[in-house]
Symmetry: C2
Subunit: 415 residues, 2 copies
């Protein structure tokens, strides 16, 4: 069974908004064995939306659209749907009551614009929106199942999970596409490819491999179609077990998780706590860790020491160290990590100082130079990195390198 | 002139990667007056890629593809391009030398896998890749201009800017699509729509309006096609000038910038400095501010006080305040903001404490309850917010509300 995802909205075509709905929907569909054949975006234009819906229903038997269902005049999907599916807009009593309740609960008046959202095409089944006012719609026609969802991510996700998923599950048989991931760090894509070539060439025909690089990391993904999830996962695990000795020290994790999730999980398992002292990453590492539910079990806090004053005042970095070696130096990050560890009373502390760019570089200390230290009860490790010219990537790569160093220190301590 | 953006890679269809390239390319194309008609994604499958390229060239006269050009076996675009454009792969001497230099400079050996990247279809013009090894390609055929770029964002952006943009600019005439934005905060989409209806109904025919909501904010965007950019911008500005009195206190900014950029810009203009004391936002606000180049001119640092221990140790919050009112209270954030301001020696300080969820809520203090304080030399303002059930959105909305409060405090101080 194949699906097409269609996201609707001018904002997607002028680059003002990044389409995260598609990725989320794709991963949900994959989970239940529905392959996404294509995904595409069109603007808020009646003809374009109509053509797109026709094209999508030709492409695959499941079509999911998001967006264009809002209360304002630039949202045109309902109108087009009536045209495509030969429907008329009728007021849906249940939706109207929900909308009235929604506004009453918030002590807000019910406006005509909002009432209009209770008008739904008569040929559609309503997919109830518990978190907002625009209902989702489900059309069945000769060739396809079309699910029309609002564009607001949390409303879309809720309707998909409650309403769409059970319907789709009733279509799909027992087959399922499964993926298994291995995260590798510290090696470039082409070298990794050379290193694992003998293993890659011997992969079974029905297993596919993908290299998914991101700043500082490569995710290797094995995929296979399987009738029995357990057997399929066992098979992929055996393949990864065979790979692991080939990549030795570059291995980070064989779970489908972010690097920050690996670090947090291993900290919680070892009942250890962590703090950070961040200069050039400016809170990025703390934010990565605290984005994870339950992070308060291991993450105590941070000092973001952007100015030298904060480095001396709050982190008690020695003024002599700063004047002799500079803020971006092995000596300074070492003190930052050790002082953060004792001041914030944690088992581990990560410190980062570098030149993120675009300004602030010199011949001696160019943009992209970053020092990272990890302090534990046993020892403090310091490493020097040379990243690139781009602020955003330098911050991201510093975060990856720092979390990776901390994972290594943590594993070393547990041996 | 219309363009189609095609992004290639299995990872885009299984939801492992969010497609940011499309949005960036769309905004670049819009800038020079090229409208993006559709954008779509297909997997690493020869037939799908071929069909997609045919479909794209039928849709519009400019086609830009990204991805599928890497050195590894799952990257299949070159092969397909040879097939579509009746080409053969030939070794390009200049590219080979660049690749050899690239690896020599990094003291890395040149492998066969890497050398293979110097093979390019003989009918293509090479678009040189200064930052990586996979070159971009440019094909011209009877109906369309096809630009084939690598998927790694910083490489793609560099090639587009250096090589593709000058070619596209030579096609486009003097017409240009311009956009102007106004950021509004503190009001829901449907109420805003009601409030500005009289203004919206009187917009000229050739000007379109879009509502672009994100957590805590709505961006209103006016768009118009114009021959003279200056005259066009003047026209849109007049329309926004007429809108401003209607939305009064909800107005945040009429520039095309993020809220963090508005705050940083106004701090720099006023020569004021800022620090943050973050509990539930966990470094998100610091990260938003330090992502902006030049932020070190106004941002001094932060204390991320996730545990109560860090709140008392590092931020000197009174233990009595914590035990009497709790960490999530108006009293605690007030102390956090005032102490951060004096400890980090800044003009302004933002403090946030709340329950981001999914755990940690109670009847008295449910998930979504957030207190925010902004301290200045003059006064400390504290507000209580009730956001929703989602951790990610609660963190984002807290950040928006906090930065918005600080912008207001800053403007009040300047009056």
């Amino acid at each position: 069974m194949e699906a097409t995802i269609l996201t609707i909205g001018d904002e997607l075509l002028i680059g003002q908004v990044i389409d995260t709905n598609s990725a989320w929907l794709a991963s949900q569909l994959n989970e239940i064995g529905i392959t996404v054949k294509t995904r595409f975006s069109v603007g808020d234009n009646n003809d374009e939306i109509r053509d797109a819906i026709f094209y999508a229903t030709e492409q695959s038997s499941v079509v999911i659209t998001t967006g264009g269902l809002g209360p304002t005049s630039d949202d045109k999907t309902s109108e087009v749907l009536c045209n495509v599916f030969d429907s008329e807009l009728v007021e849906n009593q249940e939706v109207l009551e929900h909308i009235a309740g929604f506004f009453a609960q918030r002590n807000l008046p019910l406006t005509d614009v909002n009432k209009r959202q209770a008008l739904v095409p008569d040929r559609a089944k309503v997919l109830f929106n518990h978190l907002g006012t625009a209902p989702g719609l489900y059309f069945e026609d000769a060739s396809a199942h079309i699910f029309v969802l609002p564009g607001v991510p949390f409303e879309m996700k809720d309707i998909f999970t409650r309403e769409v998923l059970p319907i789709l599950k009733s279509f799909t048989g027992s087959g399922k596409l499964i993926h298994q991931n291995m995260v590798v760090s510290g090696i470039g894509e082409s070298f990794l490819s050379d290193m694992i070539q003998p293993w890659e060439q011997n992969l079974p025909e029905d297993v596919s491999l993908a290299y998914l690089p991101s700043p500082g990391l490569i995710r290797l993904r094995l995929s296979a179609f399987t009738k029995s999830e357990k057997a399929g996962r066992g098979k992929l695990q055996l393949l990864f077990d065979a790979l692991r000795p080939l990549i030795k020290d570059y291995f980070v994790s064989d779970r489908d998780e972010k690097l920050s999730e690996t670090l947090l999980r291993e900290l919680l398992e070892a009942r250890k706590t962590i703090s950070t002292a961040e200069s050039c990453t400016g809170g990025y590492i703390a934010h990565q860790l605290t984005s994870i539910p339950g992070s308060s079990g291991a993450f105590w806090g941070s000092v973001i020491a952007y100015s030298n004053d904060v480095k001396t005042n709050m982190l008690r970095v020695n003024e002599d160290t700063l004047s002799k070696f500079g803020a971006v130096s092995a000596e300074t990050v070492k003190e930052m990590a050790e002082n953060a560890r004792s001041l914030l009373k944690t088992d581990f502390s990560i410190a980062v100082s570098g030149i993120a760019g675009p300004d602030g570089g010199s011949d001696e200390k160019p943009v992209g130079l970053v020092y990272i230290a990890v302090a534990s009860a046993k020892e403090t490790t310091v490493e020097e990195f040379h990243f690139g010219d781009f602020r955003e990537t330098n911050i991201a790569r510093s975060g990856v390198a720092a979390m990776n160093m901390c994972i290594k220190a943590l594993r070393k301590g547990r041996k």
